[in-house]
């Protein structure tokens, strides 16, 4: 019933389980061909296994567990082949390469292929933009980061982007901190507006020196090591830092960064920042020495406090419009103190000046970036949810999941109990039997069990290992988990159940077997109908509902079903 419920709604799990099934099927077919290695069908099944592995992986990362399953089994198979002296080293190498290509390279290619499709279908910019780097965004329609003059001069009006977090631009606005110095807020803001503009100016002394020099009107490029001031274009505050703690992060090695000053104010030495260029574009060697928009990644080091402008995705409270906190950190590690100039405006720059533009990332770079972002977001799903459950409750189905409910109907994810429990018994008994057999082996008893042992290992063994690998890794995950994460494991366990039943009953007479099978089928169908009401969301009676509620922890709501009036 759980598989059914999950498949009837538009969710990702149905396709995942479908591809899991396909993979296992082709893998099994591949093994039936193992006596004719390198034949057409052998190759066909192997490649199809690989393709579907890739498909499963592209649906959800749970596909990785499937890859692990197949990988474990391949290693076992290869280890057995290693002991088979009739296979020459050359043949062995061929076996190895064939599997490596089909089971590693092919799935990766498929994964890349689906991403290519994804990117070409979703070529417009959307609300996922903010997660991605500017290079990535540049490949989307509707985003025009365009190009901007390359060289940055004193007096340029620039927009500065935080490099590591993609959280946005160095920003200020006419609101003050409610903590610390109560001066004007400095934040990161994800969208482009005029409040992101900063004018890079000289310090007071060097400005004076410059005015007195012979060429006061000549444009002067900013170099690595220069001390600059950043003037907020709209509000005439200067980027300022001092010995106050930031509003959210309260470490004593971090300073508040504020906007301070007013129009006409000459500024003070706490407005001085040293430009320290750490990375440049390798194709333009000068970008490590002179400040260039887009190409140069630099830190801004506060001269008096010796701290670097820093941000770490921490959100300010409501009074900060929930924008991202910017602070100044002493002895910070490099990555989160890197900034880049994204747009650079200066009226005095000749139109012929060289321009800078974001590079276009290759498909692989894009996929890597998207994967990394997915990983980060996935790990961030740690909020609690009323229907979340931990993996140890899954196999005996302690609790289901409510999907939807209306006045007199509801959809509740609950499996067919007998299948869940028996399949769990099947895989655990496999483990128990293997342990007993192993220990008996070691003590010198070799049980062949009429040849059933190999078959048991090969069929149920594979499925059980798959089940373990689809279940145990969830214990290590910190994110929120739901019952439906168990479904791929369940699918494997149900196959293992049937496989074990087949082997366990093979000594019995045909008739007894048929009776047993029929009984099991009947019980399953009976339960299926019993719980079908909440699977399909069809009408039900309260009595039926309450009778079927075997455990208190199955918390579907019986009271929403009408009471059946029994007339006497």
């Amino acid at each position: 019933n759980a598989l059914l419920t999950q498949s009837r709604l538009i969710l990702l799990d149905a396709s995942l389980i479908f591809f899991t099934g396909l993979t296992v099927m082709f893998w099994a077919l591949f093994f039936t061909e193992s006596h004719r290695p390198f034949g057409n069908r052998w190759w066909g099944y192997l490649l199809l296994t690989g393709v579907n592995l890739g498909n499963a992986l592209s649906c959800k990362w749970v596909g990785l567990f499937l890859i692990a399953t197949i990988g474990v089994w391949t290693l076992k198979d290869l280890w057995e082949k290693l002991g088979d002296l009739s296979i020459t080293p050359a043949q062995y190498f061929k076996h190895f390469v064939a599997r490596a290509i089909s089971l590693i390279v092919v799935p990766l290619v498929v994964y890349l292929f689906w991403f290519q499709v994804h990117f070409s279908v979703l070529h417009k910019s959307g609300d996922g933009n903010a997660f991605m780097s500017p290079e990535f965004q540049n490949t989307l329609d509707g985003v025009n980061l365009g190009h901007t003059p390359r060289d940055v001069y004193y007096g340029s009006r620039v927009r500065i982007r935080h490099d590591a977090t993609n959280a946005g631009y160095l920003h200020s606005h006419l609101s003050n901190y409610e903590t610390g110095s109560k001066q004007q807020q400095i934040t990161l803001y994800g969208f482009r507006d005029d409040n992101n503009y900063w004018v890079l100016t000289r310090t007071e002394d060097s400005e004076e020196a410059h005015q007195n020099s012979t060429t006061p009107n000549e444009l002067q490029q900013i170099k690595d090591g220069d001390i600059v001031r950043l003037l907020h274009w709209r509000t005439h505050r200067r980027l300022h830092s001092h010995n106050e703690r930031p509003p959210v992060t309260t470490n004593d090695y971090q300073n508040e960064v504020s906007g301070y000053g007013w129009e006409g104010f000459k500024g003070d030495s706490n407005d001085h920042w040293r430009v320290q260029i750490l990375e440049g574009d390798s194709s333009i060697p000068d970008s490590k020495k002179k400040l260039m928009s887009i190409h140069s990644k630099f830190r801004l080091v506060h001269v008096n406090q010796r701290c670097a402008l820093f941000s770490n995705r921490k959100k300010l409270p409501k009074w900060g419009h929930e924008q991202v906190e910017v602070s100044c950190m002493k002895s910070a590690k490099f990555p989160k103190t890197l900034w880049r100039i994204e747009s650079n405006v200066n009226e005095n720059i000749p139109a012929s000046a060289p321009l800078a533009e974001y590079r276009r990332p290759s498909l692989i770079q894009k996929v890597l970036e998207a994967t990394a972002v997915m990983w980060r977001v996935n790990n961030g799903l740690t909020k609690s949810h009323p229907y979340e459950s931990r993996p140890h409750t899954w196999p005996w189905m302690r609790r289901g999941m409510a999907f939807w409910g209306s006045d007199s109907r509801s959809i509740y994810l609950l499996g067919t109990p007998i299948l869940w429990w028996l399949s769990f018994v099947a895989v655990t008994s496999f483990a128990a039997v293997q342990v007993v057999l192993f220990l008996r082996d070691r003590r010198g008893f070799h049980d062949r069990l009429l040849g059933a042992r190999e078959r048991y290992m090969e069929s149920v063994g594979f499925l059980s290992i798959g089940w373990v690998l689809h279940w145990i890794p969830f214990f290590l995950m910190g994110r929120q988990l739901f019952l439906h994460h168990y479904l791929p494991a369940l699918w494997l366990a149900i196959l293992a159940l049937v496989g074990s039943l087949d082997l366990f009953t093979r000594r019995l007479s045909r008739k007894v077997r048929q009776v047993l099978m029929f009984a099991l089928l009947l019980a399953t169908v009976r339960m299926y109908f019993q719980y079908s009401h909440i699977a399909y969301g069809s009408p039900w009676t309260r009595e039926g509902c309450e009778r079927s509620k075997w455990f208190k922890s199955w918390d579907y709501d019986c009271s929403r079903f009408p009471v059946l009036h029994v007339t006497t």
């Binding site: 290693l82 770490n312 910070a332 590690k333």
Partner: protein, 793 residues
């Protein structure tokens, strides 16, 4: 012993080639079964049913099996198994070894003690161990630290010997004139000195050739990092010593277990020795647990093999029991004994006491809870604690409930605060002068009012108002009595439930030992606190409610309605020594202290974005990427730099990382039946190297999972294993290369090279008092902050 083994060998070996009950493809990886299969056939033939074969392991390496036709079996038996066998275990040590050990010890003394008292600064973590924690043992004040006590008690012992008076050096950064810090350092360095001969003896047990065993010892001798960490009053030398001792005794026990009669005196002795050193290493630092795991795994493997050997059940059970006793019970006893001594020594109040229970604090001499009047009278000022674990002390403050009565909040607050003090008054309407009237004790059944000392408000509860979160209970609030004194809602009846640690069945209220309930006089509800926390308006403190009168016995006995008086101030009474009345339970104290240690430990979490010159991540350790400055780096100070011997670190890292791959390669070769190993040799190799590599992996890899701050010296125990592994592999290579012709030469060359590198970096180890810039040439990696720091701004 010897003759017995030989006899068995003679008895079994002819049997094996004739009877091979296994298929050719079964052979791979099952070399250990020689003995087993022998037993099978003997049993089947009915001849040797009574023969005991579990002592028969040595035959394995000498048995020639005709398995696979690779042509190896005509080679003669190598000396390395035969010698060890013929000589028995006694023969592992020879008289010449005594000379070697002495020479090594002398060399070790020279490197560890050279100018040890040069710097009178309190260096690196000496500020914790030497000047803060260890003196506490001398003046018996209680403290709290993340590490178990043994290593610190050894430091304290060294201080006693050095004649230190235990004065507090916390504020200074130099040892004062009157402190013989050299003497302390020399004593602690002795643990480091012992490391070198121990390494040699361990290698002999692991069947390294003598030249290579000496080389292994010289690796330990000439590693700058191990040397520099042994020269100061820290915990690392002790930890390393006990780790090495564990390895040595585990290796010896492995040999004894393999070649000698089980349950003999030697066998028991070495088993107990292993257990003893495990206990010590655990009690020095928690890293010692990795040693326990290592020995545990090796033991499990041994027991599993014994299981496969089908030895008699009673013997097998005995093996299990012996190991449980020797390797689990004994170390635990030692661990507990260390804590027992710890508690016995620290009987005075001290800065760490607030981590412990009130019960514990009341037993510390001079603590606030220890010295207070034992009897409670009317007019006493008391702090009341809930028996329910967590919420803490009954508390009130000027903030009000946002709804219901809108009177002053009453909560529970875990920390000491003047807002926790309540004065006990007589029931409503009884006028009394608590400074002049006759002293009146409070007994079971008496009516009291609780007056909040800071605000003068009186604890009350009324039917009209329901509790803010637990709405089935009544709200408990406090209000100044003059405002509405006409209603009878502020009287509480004292119900004494239990007099702890007291034989007398008295009904009087006492500090600390009396457990009681407060029942509302008119409503009959009970003052209660549970696990629920108030929202922001209540400062996330615990909600205090009045539990309506209930007939359930469970409710009346449950901890959430039980209270005791933690502290009692009364000017009219004399202070008592409460340790007379309060009895403690050692096990409970120890468990609580361990839990607190764990909490403190995990609270040491770093900021991943901040660069800290002292911290380093585990991945960087084996390659010695971030050595650590141990002192300030100004030009004049004597500078010590924690840098290892780079070639040793790099070589040992490569060897250890490659080890699993080599193992897989060998196994694959064997499966392919084309390996150059004679049967049993690979197993022998595994037996001898598993302790080394396993030790390295277990002392290193878990650090990747740790959230706490990590330093490069955390790698030193792993390094010790890695250095021995390096020597082990060199031994393996040169033993087989031209049949060991170059072994001695190689040992000398490598030893000399290592020694030269050690001397090259020695200024960092023995102290450098000139500008660090002069040593700039020794900056082999750009990340070494020998004279400049890339993160400096």
């Amino acid at each position: 012993m010897e003759s017995r083994n030989l006899k068995q060998r003679g008895h079994h070996s002819p049997v094996i080639p004739e009877t091979l009950p296994f298929k050719a493809d079964d052979v791979a990886g099952e070399h250990s079964r020689g003995a087993k299969y022998t037993v099978d056939t003997l049993d089947a033939d009915g001849e040797g049913a009574s023969s005991k074969t579990y002592g028969a392991y040595p035959i394995v390496s000498t048995v020639q099996r005709d398995d696979g036709g690779t042509g190896n079996n005509d080679k003669s038996i190598t000396d390395f198994s035969a010698v060890s066998l013929a000589a028995g275990i006694q023969g592992i040590m020879r008289s010449q070894d005594l000379v070697t050990v002495m020479v090594l010890t002398v060399l070790s003394l020279m490197t560890r003690l050279y100018r040890i008292g040069r710097s009178n600064r309190i260096l690196w973590d000496e500020s914790h161990f030497s000047s803060t924690y260890a003196p506490k043992y001398l003046n018996h004040t209680f403290y709290h630290d993340v590490h178990p006590p043994l290593a610190k008690m050894l430091v304290a012992l060294a201080q006693v010997v050095a004649g230190f008076n235990g004065s507090d050096l916390k504020q200074s950064n130099k040892y004062p004139e009157y402190v013989n810090y050299t003497m302390m350092r020399v004593q602690i360095a002795m643990y480091g000195v012992a490391l070198v001969p121990l390494a040699y003896l361990t290698c002999l047990q692991l069947r390294l050739s003598r030249p290579m065993a000496i080389l292994a010892a010289s690796f330990v001798l000439f590693d700058n990092a191990i040397c520099v960490m042994s020269r100061f009053v820290l915990l690392d030398a002790q930890l390393l010593f006990f780790t090495a001792l564990t390895l040595f005794s585990a290796a010896t026990f492995q040999n004894v277990n393999k070649y000698a009669e089980p349950f003999s005196h030697r066998w028991w002795a070495w088993l107990s020795m292993t257990g003893f050193s495990l206990g010590c290493v655990m009690s020095s630092k928690w890293v010692g647990l990795f040693c326990v795991i290592l020995v545990g795994i090796v033991t499990a493997e041994d027991l599993f093999r014994k299981f496969c050997d089908r030895i008699p059940w009673e013997d097998y059970t005995m093996h299990w029991l012996a190991r449980i006793n020797g390797l689990i019970v004994l170390p635990l006893v030692i661990y507990m004994a260390c804590f027992w001594i710890h508690f016995k020594l620290l009987y005075r109040t001290g800065p760490g006491e607030h981590k412990m229970s009130a019960n514990f604090q009341a037993r510390l001499l001079g603590s606030k809870l220890n010295s207070q009047p034992y009897d409670i009278t009317y007019g006493a000022f008391v702090d009341m604690r809930s028996m329910y674990n967590g919420p803490g002390l009954l508390h009130s403050h000027i903030h009000r409930y946002p709804s219901m009565s809108r009177q002053q909040q009453v909560t529970c607050f875990p920390h000491r605060d003047t807002n926790n003090i309540w004065q006990l008054h007589k029931g409503r309407g009884i006028a009394a002068n608590y400074t002049l009237d006759k002293i009146e004790f409070i007994n079971h059944g008496d009516i009291v009012q609780l007056v909040h000392n800071n605000t003068g408000a009186v604890l009350r509860s009324s039917k009209e108002f329901l509790a803010p979160l637990t709405t089935s209970h009544f709200e408990v609030a406090a209000e100044n009595i003059t405002a509405s004194s006409d209603v009878d809602i502020s009287d509480w009846r004292v119900e004494v439930v239990q007099q702890k640690h007291s034989k007398r069945s008295d009904k009087r209220l006492h500090a600390m030992t009396t457990v009681f309930r407060l029942r509302h006089a008119s409503m009959g509800c009970l003052l209660r606190v549970g696990s629920r926390r108030l929202p922001k308006w209540g400062w996330s403190q615990s909600e205090v409610t009045c539990l309506p009168d209930s007939t359930h016995k469970k409710d009346v006995k449950s901890k959430d309605v039980l209270w005791y008086i933690e502290h009692n101030t009364n000017k009219r009474m004399l202070n008592d020594d409460l340790s007379k009345y309060v009895k403690g339970d050692f096990i409970i104290d120890m468990i609580q202290l361990n839990i607190e240690m764990g909490k403190t430990n995990s609270a040491l979490s770093p900021d991943r974005d901040k660069y800290n010159a002292l911290e380093s991540d585990p991945w960087s350790w084996p390659f010695l990427i971030y050595p650590m400055r141990m002192v300030g780096w100004s030009d004049k100070t004597i500078k010590y730099y924690e840098i290892g011997n780079p070639i040793l670190w790099w070589a040992s890292a490569i060897v250890c990382i490659m080890y699993p791959f080599r193992l897989v390669y060998w196994l694959a070769c064997q499966r392919r039946q084309c390996s150059g190993w004679r049967s049993g040799e690979l197993l022998e190799l595994w037996d001898n190297s598993k302790l080394l590599w396993g030790g390295w992996a277990l002392h290193y890899l878990p650090f990747f999972l740790m959230g706490r701050v990590t330093y490069i010296h955390h790698y030193l125990p792993a390094l010790y294993f890695a250095l021995l592994q390096l020597a082990f592999d060199l031994d393996l290579v040169f033993k087989h290369w031209r049949r060991g012709r170059y072994l001695r030469l190689a040992a000398w060359c490598i030893g000399t090279l290592v020694c030269l590198v050690f001397l090259y970096f020695a200024p960092f180890t023995f102290g450098w008092d000139r500008p660090a810039k002069e040593l700039a040439g020794r900056r082999w990696l750009s990340t070494w902050n020998i004279y400049e720091d890339i993160y400096a701004m």
